[in-house]
């Protein structure tokens, strides 16, 4: 009986110490969350000078991936685009899997003043103020590669019909890149990709174009913050500056 009681006391004591250890861990987490929110607020308010003049030399193309359910919130999308425009981003690629953005955002952008539309292909480009917005969906990713493969095969067969004893087809990465451009899916490779949604994944963004794209998960679109967008762009610009003076072949290293 004494042994059982001492065992229970020991168990209670260890459990108490376990709780005692876990409490500061949770407090630390809560504290870091609050600090982050405070930082975003200060950035939005313009209190931090270093976030005011962003160096966008390295950020030529920005991509935004939105989870399709959240992409239905057109107001938030338009707010995000206006933020990016005010920051000075010149080219934005908007992507969602199901093409929700293509249906909702494209219409709004076309109806805005001074629209300049370049469509007729799978990708619709709409110029908004001084920013180009490219709208993509799942079919512009893997489906585009299938079209490019078909294009390459047709090209090869045409060449084969002319000559004889033709060699086996050999396709390089350059061939596929050119084929994607030929079928109208030759958009630029984004430098930075911001993911809005519950999952940290790019949800099928055109695989060919994200070879060296920096990927940042921003959380839910509902809780998006201007300060978080600015910070992501600032961190990206700083990160790339670290590699500026390094030889190109060392840029990617393990």
């Amino acid at each position: 009986m004494q042994r059982v009681q001492s065992s229970k006391i020991l168990r209670f004591t260890l459990g108490f110490f376990w709780c005692l250890l876990h409490l500061p861990v949770s407090i630390v987490h809560l504290g870091s969350y609050l600090i982050k929110q405070l930082l975003y607020y200060m950035i939005s308010s313009g209190l931090l000078q270093k976030y005011q003049n962003l160096q966008l030399d390295k950020l030529r193309y920005l991509a935004i991936v939105v989870e399709s359910e959240e992409a239905k919130n057109t107001t938030k999308i338009k707010q995000l685009l206006s933020w990016l425009s005010s920051i000075g981003v010149k080219y934005v690629t908007l992507y969602d899997m199901e093409g929700v953005l293509k249906k909702s955002v494209e219409t709004d952008l076309k109806s805005s003043e001074n629209p300049s539309v370049a469509d007729g292909n799978a990708v619709a480009s709409v110029h908004q103020e001084r920013m180009t917005v490219e709208l993509l969906s799942f079919s512009d990713g893997k489906g585009a590669v299938a079209k490019a493969a078909s294009f390459l095969c047709l090209q090869y067969l045409e060449g084969d019909s002319v000559g004889y004893n033709k060699m086996e087809p050999v396709f390089t990465e350059t061939d596929v890149t050119n084929a994607l451009k030929a079928v109208g899916h030759g958009g630029p490779d984004p430098d930075l990709l911001l993911v809005y949604g519950p999952a940290r994944c790019h949800l099928g963004f055109p695989a060919w174009r994200i070879r060296y794209t920096e990927i940042v998960h921003m959380g839910s679109l509902r809780s998006m913050k201007y300060g978080a967008v600015v910070k992501a762009i600032y961190d990206f610009s700083k990160k790339h500056q670290n590699y500026e003076n390094m030889p190109q072949f060392v840029y990617e290293h393990f």
């Binding site: 065992s7 020991l10 168990r11 260890l14 459990g15 376990w18 709780c19 250890l21 876990h22 500061p24 861990v25 949770s26 630390v28 987490h29 399709s68 359910e69 899997m97 199901e98 799942f138 990713g141 893997k142 489906g143 590669v145 299938a146 493969a149 078909s150 390459l152 095969c153 047709l154 090869y156 067969l157 084969d160 086996e168 087809p169 396709f171 390089t172 990465e173 596929v176 519950p198 999952a199 940290r200 994944c201 790019h202 949800l203 099928g204 695989a207 060919w208 994200i210 070879r211 060296y212 794209t213 920096e214 990927i215 940042v216 998960h217 072949f249 060392v250 990617e252 290293h253 393990f254």
Partner: protein, 420 residues
Amino acid sequence: MPRGIKRIGATGMPFPFSREALAGARCAALCFGFGSSRTTSTTAVAKALPPPHLRDLSRPKNPNLATIVYTMLSSSPFHFRFHSHSHSHSHSPFPYPSPPSPVIANLPSLPRVPPYGGGGGCRPLQPPLVSYIPSLGALVPFPEKKPCCVLPADAAASIESRQGAWRGEHEEDEEDALPSGLRREWLPRHVAVIMDGNSRWAKARSLPTSAGHEAGYKALREMLRLSCAWGIRVLTVFAFSSENWLRPKAEVDFLMMLFERILRENIGNFLRESIRVRIIGDSSKLPFALQKLAKEVEEMSRNNSRIELVVAVSYSGRGDIAQACQKISQKVKHGLLEPEEITESLIAQELETTSIEFPCPDLLIRTSGEARLSNFLLWQSAYSELFFTKTYWPDFGEADYVEALFSFQKRQRRFGQRIT
């Protein structure tokens, strides 16, 4: 097939802070002076203690403070497990108590367990280290004591597939081999890793780059061991990219020799542990001896089924897609297919990963703080959970792996129309 997961916890409660709790636990470890993954204090503590299965828990032999603490914790009703890292870098912080769960009976000694679980993949495994702090929700209620039974990862002879997962006959005991809070049915089936940071790790320690790659090899060995123990089905590692051929020749030559040595040294382990090895990438650029050895290892291990270790050497994600297009065009040339019939699924079937049991990674980990794919599994990673950690690859240990797996389980994942 892609599948959604829910937020889960040890008791089914949400895990809002598990990842941050783990990070905070590391801070706590530092506060208590047990070191971090980058110091040797943890290694020193681990080395001071003999492996659990060789210890007499009732009578500690070394009456130092660490042993006393260990004995106290081991004899408690809580399930404390310790693992000796005497042969490799110790990347894990001091072990933390797990939440109340199946406990070790107060036996004088635990059964002897061979270091790699014996042959044929059917032997008991040494349980991996439990080294994190779960959420408070896992405390209630306290379970009753029951004997610990460590079962092999593939003890489940009858496998029932449910939402892509499998359950064995001894499900509760198999969960005992997992760190608490991780549920086997929510583990990723395929984990991919970009092993980045070897050179920077070495530079930070004023060591040659080769030392970094050697340390990276040890980290890979540990990750493979944990993946085997926890039932991961496929582990893909990015060992050498097509761009890495541009690195200094001396370093490239060293890496090629290292790959050859790794394959030779571990042939026996692969067969013993039933690990199937696959090499993907443009092998034509590899030294002839390495090409030959890689083919031999692949052939020798082709019937192994416990876990698939896919090593990407001289691999390019774009190159993978291009060679798939090329294979399809050969079929078109021979009249097996029309150009108009080419679809994305046909391309997926011709990728280098197509013959893998689960070709698309559920979780993709990149170390050293970089947050990009760097031309790795571009097509296959469409629905992969991306986990970027600042830890350099040689320092990536069990705690980091658990954190990544927690991150995978915590996120609510949906895949468009394929919501499950």
